[in-house]
Amino acid sequence: MPTVINVYSYLITILGLLIVGFFVLLNNKKKITNQIFFLLVLSIVLWILCLLVADNSQNINVVEAASRVAFSASALVFLFLLFFSQVFPSAKSRLKIGQMVLFALPTALFVISSISKYSVESVTIQSYGADVKGGIIYQLFFAYIATYFILAVSNIYRNYKKASSKQRIQFQYLIAGIIIAGTISIITNVILVIFGISSLGFLGPPSLLIFVLLTAVAIVRHKLFDIRAAVARTVTYISVISTLAIIYGFVVFRLSDLIFPGDILTTAEQFFNIILAVILAFTFQPLKRFFERVTDRIFFRDKYDSQEVLNNISRILASEIQLNKLSTEITKAITTQMKISKADIVVVDGDEIFYQTRIIHGPHHDLSLQELKKLTKSIAVSDELAGGERKEIMTSYGVSVSLALRTHEQFLGFLLLGEKLSGDIYSSADIKLLRIIADELAIAIQNAKSYAEIQRFNETLQVKIAWATQKLRNANTDLKELDKAKDEFISMASHQLRTPLTTTKGYVSMVLDGDFGKLSPKQLEPLQQALDSANRMAGLVSDLLNVSRMDAGKFFIDAHPIDLAGIVQSEINGLKSFAQSKNIHLSYIGPDRTLPMMNLDEEKTRQVIMNLIDNAIHYGAPKSGPGEVKVSLQKENNHVVFKVVDNGIGVPESMKDKLFTKFYRAANAQAARPDGTGLGLYLVKRVVEDQGGEIIFDSTEGKGSTFGFRFPLKTKFKPGVTKARVPITA
């Protein structure tokens, strides 16, 4: 006798098969694969239904009719299985009408024969259900089934061999379904029955359901996300409802019987039922959530939370400015969170690739820019392209989706994506999310690119600066060497000039001294002028030598106690004839009382005095009227003050600042005396200041100038330090 459970398992199987069959058909009504699958499912349903009726009805007529229909249904099942094996997973190889008719002919014959005794001779009702006695073509029918089954399996095997890796996954579902259903059926209905356990026989039909379900998934998984959602939700609700039903049924019927024996519902019993209902109501949600989690895990292993993905991406976009880090992080986030095999970012700059994460490689080389340029349309999904160049490029590089990255102003590059790890095609939800990511990414890449450009610019700038610095350093070294050579030359030249100057000066002075006989007053004057000139020349040579020493760091002050008044007087004497020749009146006012000896470098101080008076004579000639140079040496408070005042050309205001710098000559001074060296005042300042003195300078252009120095008197003569090296004549 068939058990109640057995009946239920049949009914549940039928219900499940119908649901799946309709889902697959509605999923794509026009697709031949879906249509055939639907027919296959329907024939199975019919077969099971007939078996159910045949096994459970006590009416012999009904049982016989059901058995005959079951015979026809099984014939149809194998026909449709054969057809299905040809069109799975896709209907690329269209069914040929002739072939179809050829295969359908034996089936039609079996269906027609089902009403005759040749197929089903007699049906009797036994304790285990209907017992069918096969007719004379029953053996033929088994041969038909075996042939069609073998043909179907070989079709599947052949198609599997030809299938792409993506399609193979679909086959794996199908094969898994066959194995699971076959295993369960064989174990429960054959092996266990042999061992005397027949109570698990009810699992046979539901195992068929597993096969159908897996096959359905294999068909639709490339098309709709939604059917899976629907199936998943259905499974969830069926699970929840059946669980609740079992609990409720068990508790209500068993427990309340124990607590409240008897048939009449008492108030307490009613109250108990209400409480139970409330409890069940509250347990509904947690249970539902539990089953949802379970089904999600089964159906949506690649499901992601788009909001979470966006949040993550936004966080990376906001925190990274380095192009390489940004790209790496983003591709990592997209691949791991959206479960995509690979992602690549290519940043383009005009006619060259600016940056590339280099994750996607072609069979021979990286994606070239020419190839990329053909993908510049905002989005290209390989699966949606019928064919052509774009599809070829994408296929050869394993790119499933290509998104152009662009902002309002600029085209920046591409986001290229490989296939999804699940093997599914990109759903519209995926594409929508990717578009949002691409838009945000474009802006971030624009910023990162600018940043990288600035960095590159900085790097080249640094290289250029380093190069320029090196050049300047070399130039500086060259200049230093040149400067050294110049100093050496000046030093050498001034030494060489001194030797002939010594004899010139010496002989003229000797002639003047009368060493070569008495001179007439007429001869005396030109000779004196020759001597003065020679002295001035010696001064200039000294200037040159001192400047070269300053530059070489060899300038020094050799201080001795000296008689400043005596030096001034001797220089005045030496320059008198020169002043006369320039028609300048040179006067000197000496100190009121004898000045103490000053601790100064005699030679250099003498030069300072000579330079200042010589300058005044040169530049002291006014444009009209007589020139006048007043030299004075006075004690003022605790200072010795030396001044040379002239009424000459003066110093222009704008040139006063530079007057004491080396080689500098005021414009009007150059005009008045083109042959000046520009060294005199530079030396004066240095010598005076190096000895603790102070320069006096005041001038009005066109009115005249005052030059001089001031030394503090505190540097008293230290007795016994040294003697004057050269006696001084007044």
């Binding site: 030494h495 001194r498 030797t499 000066k505 060493d515 020094f556 050799d558």
Partner: protein, 136 residues
């Protein structure tokens, strides 16, 4: 203080022996004229080695020793003589130089000797310095 010396020039006896070591013929000739004119007995050396020989041979009262000379410079000649046990205490020395180099000035000072920059002094001034030394 120098006027007296100048006036006594002509009266000096010819017993004074001076070695003038100077490589430039024009300068040595000039000083020779001036010193001989003043009645001094002068011997000329045109390099450092000759100066060493003449000084050790004549043991002069005073030496005019140019610093920049061939063979041996003035200081080297001085040192060579010192090493040859020459008694410098009885001979006055005036170093002659072309420039006022710090090292030269300091070296002369160290030896306690006078130092003249030739281009800064006239022969007359040199002679006056010689007289002031010989009078001691």
């Amino acid at each position: 203080m120098n006027d007296e010396n100048q006036e006594s020039d002509a009266r000096q006896p010819k017993t004074v022996d001076i070695v003038l070591a100077e490589d430039d013929p024009f300068i040595s000739r000039m000083y020779l004229v001036k010193l001989q004119g003043a009645g001094l007995n002068v011997v000329l050396a045109s390099n450092g080695r000759a100066a060493v020989e003449l000084i050790s041979a004549h043991k002069p009262k005073l030496v005019l020793l140019d610093i920049n000379m061939p063979e041996l410079n003035g200081f080297e000649a001085y040192e060579v003589l010192k090493r040859n046990q020459y008694d410098w205490s009885k001979t006055e020395v005036i170093f002659l130089s072309n420039s006022s180099k710090k090292e030269d000035i300091e070296r002369a000072k160290k030896l306690g000797r006078d130092y003249i920059v030739k281009s800064d002094s006239t022969p007359k001034q040199v002679l006056e310095l010689i007289w002031s030394k010989l009078k001691k």
